[in-house]
Symmetry: C2
């Protein structure tokens, strides 16, 4: 403990007092393996938060690929290299045939930046529509359209934000179909508002799971309708798969496949290299070719041999260990358990999720659905004391966020569920 | 060869026809060690181009650090971790005392984006001044101020570009002092032009070596004078050390130390992790703290334990192998050799450089200094045929760019010089 507080003071001094840190009393982790992490005092935690170590912390197949390639060659893509080409072929093969080419980056931020540049280049427009309470990156432009926390950048004239498609709070008697129309109408308003200001739309930029927005139950047809409206106005659909992608939902490799819509541009990040910094943009080769001619896009680290080897190893493990199937099976098991907990704990207002990505919305009372924000924060800390790492999201910060590595098992789920039950009783 | 052309076709198909590639006939590299790389046919090349493998290709100390940490833990900085804090302390200790805090990113692009956001936040201004023929990143905002190649983004109203401080082409009888005043006056004009348009200046963003601009001989006092003018107008100095930093010049760890100016913000990238994707921003903790309060800046991969371990290992090697001293000594040896070549080959108009970073400006005739652009391109390909990798830069694309890993030796230099002599004879 005393060494942790010294480390924290040193960190404050040299990395700033406001660099984000989880928990009232930060966790000092030193080791990770599969779904487990260990702190400096030798205490282990079940990791129910981190999707970046997608196939499990320090998966030996990924570690070995990184170590082997780092010892062999690590250079940019202005020389030919087999690994990155083979990876690009294998990755694009998991998408609709129209999404047949890739450009690599180092992060989700760089991917969304490139996606935006491509969309603006292709459409000639500048307008962007994002969700309320969303986040797509930390660069100047993406920060300016961040709607889930304060940023110093003014909300730009070229952007509009639309309501979160949230059936739990906004159904108000509407059928699913009506709900889809209701939220799609907000997108139409946003497009018209841009047009009224003389700003043609470049893109609708959304996460198909609306994860930062609170992971609401998906409104059938909403994304398809919204995309239809945007395309009719000349804009593209940029699908941010940084959280939803690489099998997270169990049902599909990509989040947009749940919505049955093929995006114009897909941006990738977080889980792609199991922690190794790699991101990417997938689009039609025609778009990538013509943008490349206009822009001389080059990314020094993007798609280098080590990044490509790490990302290849991640695909290997997803396939070899049937992680989509695991996400589907264990995900359904967790969800059933969470629904049982909801029947027992009045504070749980709503359970939602897909595959190994869950939200639990906590409310003070069932009728008014007053967000239990303070209690959610306490619960996150209480779960940490019970050896389980998770977090919270949503516009009221009252939604428990659970998104473990994809190797999560039923046994891990039992541990999570019983600790949750215990903590909710103690809350 | 036939397998290379197949690989090239596959690459065109899946990564686009216009993704940058070096050489008329691309090099297909498979292995690297120290200053050497090897192609798929077993041919070795002396690498006189790549600064990213700063301490040598696949340096065992760096490879081991990456492999060890990747097998132990790789998570974001919202948990405490010793390695990143220790690295931040060690890195900031190499700067002036006022530059005492760090934020980590994945690339030079992300670093310059963050630097720009910080400068705009601190000053309240939006104006940016860059050099003509410069490059600072591939994001939307940074691409829009790119002046060294065409981009689809229009040059923004908030930016101005100033002349390259190039004594070779613009001395015209001026003394060094007069030259500094002459180029600084262009910066004053740019500031006034922004002010006239009601755009307060946020920052002067320059590479202290003006590398993309053609690596001109440094004009004494130019940077100090330019920074003085910008600061007087309320702007900050962002020093882009992506190419100049980490000892490249031999004389100092940081390029700005050659100009005797302390920047307000420093951005880092390329050589920082010897190829592992890491970048960073160095500034006063006061700036990082207050920006962090306003902005909730978070970077998923930035400063993760593997990145921090790789970057730490790079600092280890720079110290243990005295790479600054090596850069100074071997750099002087190369430079003397290049000057001997200039005396023998009329096409060499000018030799410039610092430490292990050289430019050789090729001209058609000594008096008019007509750029020998086509011959420079031919020379780069001829050197590749002689087993030496280098490239070209500058507004006329007529400056040979040489920037080998910092472990370059006198023996390597002899090889470079004799191959250059031979190729120049054959040109």
């Amino acid at each position: 403990m005393s060494s942790d507080s010294t480390l924290l003071e040193r960190r404050f001094r040299v990395m700033g007092r406001n660099a984000p840190l989880f928990y009232d009393r930060p966790v000092h982790l030193v080791r990770g393996k599969g779904v487990w992490v260990e702190d400096a005092d030798g205490r282990t935690y079940l990791d129910v938060y981190n999707n970046v170590p997608n196939v499990g912390h320090c998966h030996p197949h990924v570690v070995e690929a990184i170590a082997r390639q780092a010892a062999t060659l690590n250079l940019h893509t202005r020389y030919l290299h087999e690994t990155v080409v083979r990876y690009a072929e294998r990755l694009t093969a998991t998408f609709d045939g129209s999404l047949n080419a890739a450009t690599f980056t180092c992060s989700g931020t760089e991917s969304n930046e490139l996606a935006l540049r491509m969309a603006r280049y292709r459409t000639g427009g500048k307008g962007i529509i994002v969700s309320d309470f969303s986040y797509h990156g930390n660069s100047e432009t993406l920060a300016s359209v961040t709607t889930c926390f304060p940023v110093p950048e003014p909300f730009p004239a070229f952007a509009r934000k639309v309501a979160i498609p949230d059936p739990f709070r906004d159904r108000q008697g509407r059928s699913d179909e009506e709900l889809g129309d209701y939220f799609a109408a907000k997108v139409r308003e946003a497009v018209r508002s841009l047009q009224a200001d003389g700003i043609p739309i470049a893109a609708l930029l959304i996460d198909p799971l609306f994860a930062n927005e609170g992971l609401p139950e998906l409104v059938p047809n909403y994304v398809a309708k919204a995309v239809g409206i945007v395309r009719e106005a000349g804009g593209l659909f940029i699908c941010d798969e940084v959280q939803a992608g690489f099998g997270r939902t169990g049902d599909a490799m990509w989040g947009h496949q749940l919505a049955n819509v093929v995006p114009d541009i897909v941006s990738l990040g977080k889980p792609m290299g199991n922690g190794h910094p790699i991101g990417g943009v997938i689009a039609a080769s025609d778009l990538i070719d013509s943008f490349g001619l206009a822009a001389t896009y080059f990314n020094t680290f993007g798609g280098n041999p080590v990044s490509a080897a790490a990302a290849t190893a991640v695909l290997d493990v997803i396939e070899q260990e049937s992680l989509l199937e695991n996400g589907r099976r264990v995900g359904a098991y967790v969800r059933a358990g969470l629904e049982r907990l909801m029947a027992q704990h009045a504070i749980i207002g709503n359970v939602r999720g897909h595959g190994l990505f869950f939200g639990l919305e906590l409310v003070e009372d069932d009728a008014a659905r007053t967000p239990a924000t303070a209690k959610t924060k306490r619960l996150v800390n209480m779960m940490r004391d019970r050896g389980i790492l998770l977090s919270k999201i949503g516009r009221y910060d009252n939604i428990l966020k659970m998104r473990p590595p994809m190797v999560f098992t039923e046994e891990n789920a039992d541990l999570l569920l019983s600790a949750l039950d215990d903590a909710l009783n103690a809350l």
